[in-house]
Amino acid sequence: MKRGLGLVVVALAALALAVAVGPTRVPWPEFAHSPIVRELRLPRALLGFLVGGALGVAGAALQAIVRNPLADPFLLGLSGGAGLGAVLAIAFAAGGPWATPLAAFAGALAAMALVYRIGLAGGGELEPRMLILGGVAVGAFAGAVTTAVVSLADAVALRNALLWLWGGLSGASWDTLAVVCAYLPIPLALLFAAARPLDLLALGEEPARYLGADVASLRRRVYVAASLLTAVAVAVSGVIGFVGLIVPHGMRALLGDRHRVLLPAAFLGGGTLLVLADAAARVVVAPRELPVGIVTALVGVPVFALLVRRWTTS
């Protein structure tokens, strides 16, 4: 309880920090009225928080459902599929703020289905290690096709697609925030409602069944919900890796592995991490800015290497 409260305080502090810093210095007296704060920093910080939270929750749920501590939306190819869906929508000018997440959702689901087929390659039972290999392969494939689509697109579509691909959170506005707020609650509610059976699944599929979990329906719900979360995140901010991987591990170490606690914690932790990463991306090379995905990768890759080592030696 105390630690959970601490997490909320840290999250609020991160949001405050992200609003306070930036390439332009906003004097304190004008702070509340500054358009830079109200139209740029505040929606951007909030969007970053929701996107990071969505990725954190998706990662935690995916790790449980595919029974692999290395799973996250990025490594499982979901982000890549969502990115491809979004770029196709943009290239064919069918994007729009409300339709792009749906195209990304279709892409994420298709990628998940493909990865799942590969994961079953060993026989009847899902092989967790094959899943990650499949995810990386499908993600790379989707990335290649995405690049092909972008390079074949006409000038206007190209510019839009590149802006989106590398833009990170720079496209944040109150409008994109509204889109995210509309799409996020349903998948989040689906996952939070699945928290208890996810605890059981950590023991294996067969033991989970014997303890009363309907594994097949649970798996469908979690894949769809995690795909939608990833799709919304990708549609508004491009492909951002590693948040979904490292946040759940941090939260597990901090608060234990009960999903009723872990999933909300992963939301707060993911939001905090992405808001801080984005603040760094804006400030470090000011007045230019880095795509936030580069910052999360700089933090995430070493953590990933550490996790691989721990997982393979145990």
């Binding site: 501590p69 208890r196 023991l203 014997y210 009363g212 309907d214």
Partner: protein, 266 residues
């Protein structure tokens, strides 16, 4: 006493996809209150398939499986988990857990998404821990336990489900003599004191002979014999395990002694 019957399998045949032979054929079995029913057979004789069919995880090709008189396929997983607790053969925890927490997972079928665990759930967990002699280990990490302690934790978790039938699938594989005896003794005591039905899958002929009320012998998916421990005769055991044996008696029960040399059987 039919109303005391918990699990009833009739004429079960089962085949895995792509296989040419049935994993089970014509197997019939009934487990009632307070009874320890052992299922014995060599590796690959269909013992685990029997558990899967009994628990509705695998649909039989022929025959019927019923729990408390109701076809197992029509049970919801949660309702079934409140009636039958299973200690499966294989289990691999993904993340480290403490003993009390993993036993508390047994309460899942009693909780709804809206109901948090209450005092009765706490009490059930505490009772299960006591029953399996784990109270002193409740705060230990599961990974630090010995093989015997770990199996007791898994039995405690199944007991926390407050089932009427406990299914133990090869619970003593890789346990030493003392822990084997303790575990079979625990299974026996649960049937005697709590009136639990126990379905015990094992390849320990002698322990089954000493602790079980009834024994089903399986070979290549077929029932070779079924009945009290006296069904363990030399021809039956030799047929099931494909090895020469001698059968002696100890405490009124048959005990099987494998011979050293394989006879030149026709």
């Amino acid at each position: 006493m039919d109303h005391e019957l918990i699990l009833e399998l009739r004429g079960i045949a089962c085949r895995y996809p792509g296989a040419v032979e049935d994993a089970l054929a014509g197997v019939t079995l009934a487990v009632g209150r307070g009874v320890v029913q052992a299922v014995i057979g060599p590796n690959g004789s269909g013992k685990t398939t029997l558990v899967r069919v009994a628990l509705g995880v695998r649909a039989p090709r022929e025959g019927t499986a019923a729990v408390l008189g109701k076809p197992v396929a029509s049970w919801s997983r949660r309702a079934l988990a409140r009636t039958v607790g299973v200690v499966a053969q294989r289990e691999e925890a993904l993340f480290p857990q403490r003993v009390r927490n993993t036993v508390a997972l047994g309460r899942y079928p009693h909780l709804s998404p809206w109901r948090a665990p209450g005092s009765e759930d706490e009490a059930a967990v505490t009772r299960a821990l006591e029953r399996c002699d784990l109270t002193a280990l409740a705060d230990r990490w599961v990974a630090t336990l010995s093989g015997g302690e770990y199996q007791r934790v898994r039995i405690a978790r199944a007991l926390a489900q407050e089932p009427r039938l406990l299914v133990l699938d090869e619970p003593t594989t890789s346990l030493d003599l003392r822990h084997e005896m303790e575990l079979f003794g625990l299974a026996r005591a649960l049937a005697d004191d709590g009136g639990l039905g126990v379905l015990l899958i094992t390849h320990h002929v002698n322990l089954a002979a000493r602790f079980a009320d009834r024994i089903l012998l399986l070979a290549q998916g077929r029932a070779v014999a079924e009945g009290g421990p006296e069904v363990l005769t030399r021809p039956v055991v030799e047929q099931v395990f494909g090895w020469p044996v001698q059968v002696e008696r100890f405490e009124e029960r048959p005990q099987v002694i494998p011979l050293r040399q394989r006879k030149d059987t026709p």
